[in-house]
Symmetry: C2
Subunit: 665 residues, 2 copies
């Protein structure tokens, strides 16, 4: 199709690839039918010229950038809906790569993201059937968002201050923001875009606080889009990434909404103010788990984007000399570069694999819940917390390592790596802050440890604790040995931390004080547990997957999974030395095998990132395009700068001459 | 002076501080006279209203932002020069905090930074006395920058492609850019601001390449500011940070400059084309060392900015419950928060202390060089390489940890933490890329190891290698014990890496191949060496400093230095387990002492960051201001958004109504 010349180094790399890239693409997409569907959507969306930028959005003012994002977002939605009709297809994320094309249209987040990503799903999961029928019908012109976080409170939900006070005389809730810190702060699309909002607020009836509930609140007039009286709404200003998400603030001045606007699938408020409690408090955990599992899936994609950019650049870039007589080598040939990059390829596969497994577990648990069986929810919740935290943090490290591996050019916005960093680092904080998440899992692990101590049997993913508390934890140099070693580490850290906690209590401290004195260790325990799950599930699932693919692909997938295990064993060698029989000599062997794996993966590195099959428009990177025209693209992008459209900027005559030359610089 | 109410928590923290903050301020400034001078400059500059932004610059378009930065930069320079006359005072960085006020005026880098930071210093150090007399005289209206990096080559100087070919017939150099990759790329101020440029180019005379030399090249007309014929110049586009630095590209089409424009302090080209070689090739190393030591000094300041913001915010922010009956505690009371933040306070002190020591060493080595004694230059160069690399990488981690410790609000541009991250992370790459720097030091360490192996005595900062190669490396639990342990680790890793390198060679590999196979370990060796120097020098110099200050301040400075050592001992516990006699029980003790230190520092945390004495205008942070009005400032800053100046954005009628409502969302 394209006539562009492909970079000679990339051609060579692709010739030398030992496996069928198409087969890997289908695997990454979750099946050949998904690949076909994805490509159909991508081709279709990219056929619309009005969705392309003439001037890259980063040159625009904050306001112009927003308006451009609304324009493209609106066109994109209508383009997709006109073709596929079914509103549910217009999703912005999920368990497959079908709608990644959104990134190609609005590079730094659509202002409509939360409408599809949170507003509609919350109605689907928490509104009553009658409410759903009304609110989800098409043509009601609702543009929504989801408002939970406030200026003063984030992850600690109980601290939210917005109130919804029931007035039985008018059958209304009075929404109110009693303080500055109670203002909603952050919701995407809230500032100028949404006309409706799911608001999380403290429900008060007859002077009694019944805790946090969800309310559907109209904030702007449908016809005029003006904020309704009693609503104070606006935008919160620029951020680290998400420049076009239109994050907003929202305050209420005794704003009234009808009783039927409380989401009533679970709890209800009757006309007379009678409060009907939800049959199960834990139902809302399901949504939180869903969002957090989804983040792991998203991270697999973002790490794949970063790896694709950095690996292709490393194949094209030549630098320095290994031998005086030789030409400058591709930087991908330096073992330090391989060490920086290959872990990102493996990490993306690890997250895709582990999140596929998590989705299966999630759907099983949700199915159980509908029959009233809540048994496995706590374990799933604990898993989702620590995996969300550890994966977001590791992915951020991966993306930044990829960026830094591109040297100076990795700082160019046109590389897209800075924007990816903003995206990925935000996942550490949103939907449950890292440390808070880790401590949620830690609380679960302390409970589990007590059960183990009392000789009770443990849930499947923590069963290793019992095994390793009694074992000698002998080191075995193999992938399974590494998993076993990491289990020994986790079990030992959990044990040590619990003992410390209990000692503090025995010495007379309150549980709260003992807990606070143990926080650093508790976070370590959670991390160790997450490492076990990631390594074990990635390795185990890889064994299943490789039995279904061709031999050559199986070999490479196996190498990646092995690399991931050896990388983490080396990273955690201090813990292994403390809690297993591993020796200095064993660690040297680990290092040697790790470096062998780098060398084995080297010839397939470009093939592996080609296997992510991320279109140039979605990569949106001068450094990472399929054709490898790195330097040409850097210059072409730079030439789009409005500063380059004139040989002389007005500031010379306005400022430099009158000020600098006069002051005799 | 100010009538603003100070946040009650900050008042309480300041009341509880155990040392004299003023004394610490003088220490951080390098003496009471520096504090006075700094404050005088700050007060004076801030008295000019035209240097203040009405709309924060991040709301402007890329072009408007540049023009605003030129305006403020020009006014600032003339303001400073009119008051203090002496051009040399208008420096943008250096060994003290005198001119930090520049950050308050141009938040994301002045387009004139390289004029003062690189252009003038390069002339001072590499131009002949006659050239200096001409080029440094005031009123020549030169605005300069420094152009070294090209699209295709960065740290690997020998690979630069720009040529300067001498034409003896006209006594000119012909500057030329033979390829796209030879275009200069990155220099700050180059794009639209500078009219002159120091250009690093391959000198060719009579068909012979004589290597990289520096040339002064006029690129724009002084009067019209139009690019001269044969010059292609423009800007490279937006980046991760440095939005107003006006980074540019530059290409030459056989552009001629006079012979006398080669910087001729060292090498010279005579009229007839005779090349007079520099008496000492190593002289240019001096400049590189200067720039890298300066980076360590800068990092001390930037980490102090991040720590000030995050610690004050943590004192003001309340969140979650430790005990159900208690109010929400300051987040600074959580040990996890202390663990995240206090290392940044200590790191800033470590860098200030170590860079003071490095400056002393530097001046001594430069003094020696003028007498022809080059003996200590290689050690200083190796030191500057690994310290620049390790400090930039650690500081980036510190700043990001501070940012993430502020939760969601750390993502707000108005917190200034995203901008600081851009600044600090760039130091990992510019002026010598991390891995390349580490390998420069590694090359030196391999040489030193060979000397040790041959029984020769070693230079002072590597003398520990001899000692620990023979020692049993018994673990002692004390600050000195930690330093000794880290020395044992470094010596052992250096030894192990050299042995690996030599084994590869013995097995028949070329030195180059053996070197490439050992890269990952070589980098580890450099890092281990840098850890030794940082911990040892910080600890040693702290002992000297604390003998000159009041007792209460000495106690706190000592605690910080100790915290730094225990932190790094715990981080490197895997290495300590491998290379010393440390036991699991010893590590528990380290952890215990570390947590004790967190508790000891906690009451003084706010006092310690107050001791950095960074004015609100320089911090430029809604979260970190002295008065602690966090939420009020967040809202006030948001209200400056142009999107908030109108209740309805035009995009509603332009796009939302016609597209979304029509497609029946």
């Amino acid at each position: 199709m394209t006539k562009t010349k492909i970079n000679a180094d990339l051609l060579k790399e692709r010739r030398n690839c030992t496996f069928d890239v198409q087969e890997l693409i289908h695997l990454n997409d979750g099946g050949i039918h998904n690949t076909a569907k994805r490509k159909e959507i991508e081709e279709y969306v990219l056929s619309f010229d009005e969705l392309k930028d003439k001037i890259p959005e980063e040159y625009l003012s904050h306001k112009d950038r927003y308006e451009s994002a609304v324009r493209k977002g609106c066109i994109l939605i209508s383009v997709l809906q006109n073709r596929w009709k079914d509103q549910s297809t217009v999703q912005f994320s999920g368990q497959n790569n079908l709608y990644r094309i959104v990134c190609a249209v609005v590079k730094d987040m659509s202002p409509f993201m939360l409408h599809f990503g949170m507003f509609l799903p919350t109605i689907s999961s928490q509104a009553s059937p009658e409410q759903q029928a009304e609110w989800l019908r098409s043509g009601n012109n609702m543009i929504g968002t989801y408002a939970q976080t406030e200026l003063g409170h984030g992850t600690f939900l109980r601290g939210l201050e917005t109130t919804a006070t029931y007035d039985a005389t008018t059958e209304e809730f009075i929404m109110h923001s009693p303080t500055l810190t109670s203002y909603k702060w952050w919701p995407g699309g809230l500032a100028q875009t949404a006309n409706h909002c799911i608001v999380m607020a403290q429900l008060h009836i007859s002077g009694k606080n019944l805790g946090i509930h969800a309310f559907l609140v109209q904030i702007r007039d449908i016809e005029t889009h003006m904020p309704l009286p009693g609503i104070k709404v606006g935008e919160i200003g620029p951020k680290f990434g998400f420049q076009t998400a239109n994050n907003g603030f929202l305050g209420f001045n005794n704003f009234r909404i009808p009783r039927k606007n409380m989401l009533m699938k679970n709890s209800q408020v009757l006309k007379d103010g009678t409060y009907v409690k939800s049959k199960n408090d834990k139902l809302t955990y399901g949504t939180m788990v869903y969002v957090r599992v989804n983040i792991v899936t998203e991270l697999a994609f973002e790490v794949a984007r970063a790896a694709t950019i950095a690996v292709r650049y490393a194949a094209v870039r030549h630098q320095s000399k290994m031998k005086p007589e030789d030409p400058e080598p591709q930087i991908l040939d330096y073992t330090t570069q391989q060490h920086k990059l290959f872990i990102s390829i493996a990490t993306s596969h690890a997250y895709r694999t582990v999140s596929d497994w998590l989705w299966k577990t999630y759907h099983q648990v949700v199915a159980d819940m509908t029959t009233g069986n809540m048994k496995n929810l706590p374990e799933l919740h604990a898993l989702a917390c620590c995996l969300k935290a550890v994966c977001s943090s590791d992915a951020t490290t991966c993306v930044e390592q990829c960026r830094l591996a591109c040297g100076g050019h990795g700082y160019m916005t046109s590389s897209n790596l800075p924007i990816l960093y903003g995206f990925v680092s935000a996942t550490i904080t949103y939907e449950g802050e890292y440390t808070v998440m880790m401590l949620q899992t830690a609380r679960y692990l302390v409970k589990v440890y007590k059960q183990a101590y009392e000789g009770k049997s443990l849930p499947p993913n923590t069963a290793y604790i019992t095994k390793h508390l009694e074992a000698k934890n002998s080191w075995v140099d193999s992938p399974e040995g590494i998993i076993s070693g990491l289990q020994a580490v986790a079990a030992s850290i959990i044990k040590q931390t619990c003992e410390m906690l209990f000692q503090h209590i025995e010495s007379g401290k309150s549980y709260a004080d003992a807990w606070n004195l143990s926080l650093v260790q508790l976070v370590n325990a959670s991390e160790a547990h997450a490492r076990v799950v990631l390594c074990e599930m990635y390795w185990r699932e890889t064994q299943t997957i490789t039995s279904t693919v061709s031999k050559n692909l199986a070999i490479v997938l196996q190498q990646l999974a092995e690399l991931y295990l050896y990388y983490w064993a080396l990273e955690k060698r201090g813990d292994l030395l403390m809690f297993t029989t591993i020796t200095k000599e064993d660690i040297r062997k680990l290092q040697k095998r790790y470096e062998e794996l780098l060398a084995l993966i080297r010839p397939n590195a470009v093939g592996l990132v080609d296997g992510f099959d991320i279109r140039d428009e979605i990569l949106s990177s001068t450094l990472g395009a399929y054709d490898g025209r790195v330097y040409e693209r850097l210059m072409e992008e730079a030439m789009k700068s409005p500063l380059n459209s004139e040989p002389l900027n007005a500031s010379f005559h306005n400022y430099i001459k009158p000020y600098l030359f006069k002051s005799k610089i």
